[in-house]
Every structure is written in structure tokens, then in C-alpha cells.
Amino acid sequence: MVYNMRRGKIKPQLAQSRKINIRSYKVKAKEKAYLEDLNKVSADQKKNMLSAGVDPSQKARSGTYVQMDHSVVHANSLYPGLEVMSITEALKRHEWLDNYFWKAVALGADSFTKQAHLRPHHGYFLRALPGVKATYPLQACLFINEDNIIQNVHNIIIAEEGSDLQIITGCATASDVRRGLHIGISEFYVKKGAKLTFTMIHNWADEVEVRPRSAAQVEAGGVFLSNYICLKPVKSLQMYPKAELIGRGATARFNSILFAHPGSHLDVGSRVILKAEDSRAEIIARTVSAGGDIIARGHLRGEVKGIKAHLECRGLMVAEKGHIHAIPELEATVDGVDMSHEAAVGKIARDEIEYLMSRGLSEGEAQAAIVRGFLDTSIMGLPEALQKEVDQTISSCEKDVF
């Protein structure tokens, strides 16, 4: 434990992000050819994409963006009113896009945002035009195919007024990639009365380091629903996405499902700044440590009267070693706010395991069933079809995990 003089509180050693040596990664990657037909990706790439929720066959999808290393491999929209392209292309096509660049995320925030600015390697631009509501989600995949490289992407997602945009985004590596650094800037803009459902699944490799930097701005009556799932090993992941609710009645919900393998270090939080009347926020995190380290952060800040927000963090220790550190924070700058939090960290109750064993399940099966139940995605409030997709993805990951 370290006593932090400035903040005046005891701060465990773990609650610090791991340092990364950016220079230890290759800045250049081989250029990959554009694929008109996504089915032509290799079998290995396909398998790893699928386990991150990205389906190269594009069944039940409204469009797809795929980037491998530093190359845009595929970008197309299958639904009128949805735009799917690389951010490089979008900046050429839409002059106004400059106004959205580094607006939600501050360029100077840290060395990673600066790196993404200095050495950009594309990223995606996804946009639903006003009032457009597609049945199927868009999918985006940021893939690391070459070992030891750095991938810096900048993504912008815009749900224009009254639109309903669903996105599945999966990040994955080729099976032979061990080491890499992914820096992803994502800026979300949810306009008046729009709804954006963003579900991100990470499927990295043992030695990959990941630094997403994300922020959303939600206008009046808009809904931003952000789901994050990370069940596979990763060396270190640190992110603290933020949503600013700037219009009356805006809503943000963050759901995170994290599984830390031995050797994985996950420092993940969600932050919502409630700046407008009647705005609502909910942050839910379910974390499991099977020997890895997890810092589960959450921060709600109420700046106007009449807002309502709740933060929930539950952690489960399933191995002798490991570490879960839940840090929920509530902050109010005015009176008349309604904010609450609940946090619980523990191991699986013995009586629950024995209850399942008395029905004939082995101890391992009982434990896996309880952990699976704990990582239940129905908390995510996804549309039915999307829920099924995500569940399938998770159950395919779980086969490897448990």
C-alpha cells in the first residue's frame, strides 16, 4: 500500500496503470490488399474474427469494416442510410468531420492519444443518417495480423437525430501473433433522440497491450449503450471510457464483462458525467479473476439537479491467486442528485457449488455454470437478435476459458 499525499488516501500499488514502452513496437506493417469478398480471409483469420463477434460472411449484418494492421481490407454498407468507411476516406468525403475530430476525446490526454495523432493508421467511420433504423448491426473489426507491431486507430461513430444504430466491434489477432500494441481512439456522437448500441468484444493475445481511449457525447433524449466483453488473455488493458450527457433526458449505460487470466492485467472503468436535467446513467461491471489482476473502476458525476445514476460492480475470485480491486466513485457538484453504488467482491459461495453438485454436476461443472451465469449478458439490454449473436460468441470463448 502507498499513501498518496496529494489525494490524502491510501492507494494500493495495483491501482496504477502499467507503463508501456511504445518504442519497443514496430511502427511499420506490410500493406494488405483490399478484399472485395470478405470470405477470402484465411481460415485462421476467420476463426479469430468470429470469436470477436465479427462474421466475414456478413449474414445478419448491415455493413462491415475490417482493418488488418495498418490496411483497410474491407469497408461497405449494405443498408441505405448507413455509412461505413475508413476515417481517412471519411475526412476526405465530409469536410465537416473535422469538427468531430478530437472533440469528445482530448488530443493531449496522454502519450497514447498523442501517438494516435502523430502516427495514425486509419480507423473506422460509422454513421447512421437521421431517422435511419437498420434491423441488423454494423460490424467493425480491428485485426492485428503481424507480430510486434503498433496499431493506432481513430474511430468516429455518429448516430444522427432519431436514428437507431447498432454496432458490434471485435478486436482480434492472428493465432501466431503474440505481442502487439493497440491504441484505439473512439469518439461517439449520439444526436437528439438517437440510440447507439455499441458492443465491443476483445479477443487479443497473451502479450498484447491495449489502450483504448473513448468518449461519447449524448444529446437530448439520446441513448448510448456501451457493452464491453473481454474473456481472453491479454497482457495489459487500460481504459476508462467516458460519456457526457449534455442534453435533457440523455441516457448512458455501460456494461462490462471481464475475465482476467493469470498474467493478465485489466484496468477498466466507465465514467458518466451527467450535465443535463433528467439525464440517467447506469454502470454495471461483472469481473472474474482466475489469477489475473482487475481494477474495476466506475465514476458518476452529477452536475445538475434531478439526475439519477447507479453504479454496480460485482467481482468473483475463482482462483487462489489473483486480485480484484473495485473502485466506485460518486461525485456531486449540486444538491438534488440521486446517485448510488453497490460493490461486492468475493469467491463463489460453497453452498451454491454444493447445491449444484447435489444435482450431479462435478465441482468444476458447478463452478463453470456459476461463473457463466455471473457473466450473464442479459444485463446488457441488447436487441434479441444481437443478444443471441453475443451469447454465441461468448459461449465459443467460454469453451476455451473454462
Partner: protein
């Protein structure tokens, strides 16, 4: 089916059962009576091998096999099932998933849930916010799904209204009648369940000791008249005597 020999069990270092001798034959239904805290639930838990219940001495023999050293799930897979009195809540696992995990071939979850008025509960997390009657029906559904040859019922009628007792009792009876070998050990305080599941024999546990074995209805009648304490007065008598009225 089940034979218990000189069984002494302790919980946290304290004996809760001492020198229990008991035999339940194939297809038999035995009622287990006794006041609160007498060790009835402990006996069921020890038969299934729950970790808090340490066997200090004696043997549990099921279908001719000593099961003392088997894990809970191994005992369950041999054919022992328990209807818990107060089961834990299992967050995140829905009743349907639970039944699917444990059911034997040919068990139709939907139809059986319907027959126990549990159709609306299949998508709920197991025991979360369930009422007394709902818990019993949910337990029974799981027991029916796993289809044990020895069913242990821990107070199937406690905390349940009359209507639910009738439903639970009827379904218990139906389940037990499915196979000739189906055997039951039923803990009851009130004996209401006897209206639906007719026991062949009964016994009384007081203070962790088994005191009498005989006609369950007569035992119950005697207990109602004289109280459990009376049982202790015949503690020295042999367990195998068949009748139970004082003065006989």
C-alpha cells in the same frame, strides 16, 4: 437401498448425530420425525456428503456400496437426490438452464414445469425471490428431472399453503410411483404430507439419536399427544420395536 451403520456426524466439531443405525429397503418410504434441531437435516446432508458434515465414525452404504468417501456429485450420480428445505439462491442460473443441466433423457422440461405451475419461473434465476411454495415446487422439478432412486425430502410441506401441499404431495407420489425401486426418506413435522405420500415406516430423531422405528402414523399420533420428549424415555429400548404407544 440405504443402510446406515453406527453413524456419528459432527458439524464444526460438535456431534449432531450419534450412533445412527437405519435401513431403508428398496421401494420403501420412510418418514423421519423429530423436533427442530434434532439432526434431521444433518442426516440428509451427511447422506449426500455436504462438506460441513464430518463423519466421525460409521458407514453409509448405498446400493451395497460404501459411499463415505464419495463426493456429493458422485453420490448424486449413483442415484441420491435431495429436496432442500432452504436451498441457496443461485444468481445467474435460470431454472430452465438448471433443469437442462441435470435432466435425464426423456424429461420434458416444459410439460413438467407446467404440471408444477412453474412455466413462468423457467426463465427466472434459481430461487431468487421465490416464495416458500415456489421453492418447494422448484426443488421438486429438479428432483423429478434428475430422477433419483433414493429421494430425500427435507420438510416438503414447511412454509407451504394447503393448496401447494396438495400439489407437491401429489407430484411427489407420482414421481415415487414411476419406478418400483424408487425409495424415499421424508422429513416432516406435521405429517400433512402423509395424505398424499403414504409412508411405510417412520422413525424419530431427538438430540441426534435415533429413538424409535415403527408405524409413522402411530408415532405421529403419539408425538402429538405426548410430545417428542417422551421419545427420550424409551431411548434405552431397541430400535426395531414395531409399536409405539406408551404403556404397551
Amino acid at each position: 437401498m440405504l443402510k446406515i451403520e453406527n453413524l456419528t456426524v459432527s458439524v464444526s466439531g460438535k456431534d449432531v448425530l450419534s450412533d445412527i443405525n437405519l435401513e431403508i429397503k428398496n421401494g420403501q418410504r420412510m418418514a423421519l420425525l423429530g423436533p427442530n434441531g434434532s439432526g434431521k437435516t444433518s442426516l440428509l446432508m451427511a447422506i449426500l456428503g455436504f462438506s460441513n458434515y464430518q463423519i466421525k465414525k460409521g458407514d453409509i452404504i448405498f446400493k451395497g456400496k460404501r459411499i463415505n468417501d464419495l463426493s456429493i456429485d458422485e453420490r448424486a450420480r449413483l442415484g441420491i437426490g435431495l429436496m432442500f428445505q432452504r436451498p441457496p439462491t443461485v444468481r445467474g442460473i435460470r431454472l430452465r438452464q438448471m433443469v437442462d443441466l441435470i435432466k435425464q433423457d426423456g424429461f420434458d422440461t416444459e410439460i413438467q414445469a407446467e404440471s408444477l405451475h412453474l412455466s413462468d419461473f423457467l426463465n427466472r434465476e434459481v430461487n431468487l425471490g421465490f416464495s416458500g411454495g415456489e421453492i418447494k415446487r422448484c426443488e421438486l422439478l429438479q428432483l423429478m428431472a434428475s430422477s433419483p432412486s433414493l429421494s430425500l425430502f427435507d420438510e416438503p410441506e414447511s412454509g407451504v399453503d394447503l393448496e401447494n401441499i396438495a400439489l407437491v404431495g401429489k407430484m411427489m407420489d407420482e414421481m415415487l410411483k414411476k419406478r418400483k425401486e424408487n425409495t424415499a426418506l421424508i422429513i416432516t413435522h406435521t405429517g400433512y404430507i402423509f395424505d398424499y405420500v403414504k409412508p411405510d415406516t417412520g422413525c424419530i430423531l431427538v438430540g441426534g439419536k435415533l429413538h424409535c422405528i415403527g408405524d409413522p402414523r402411530r408415532i405421529l399420533k403419539t408425538v402429538k399427544k405426548h410430545g417428542y420428549e417422551w421419545c427420550i424415555t424409551c431411548a434405552g429400548e431397541k430400535l426395531s420395536h414395531s409399536s409405539h404407544s406408551p404403556g404397551k
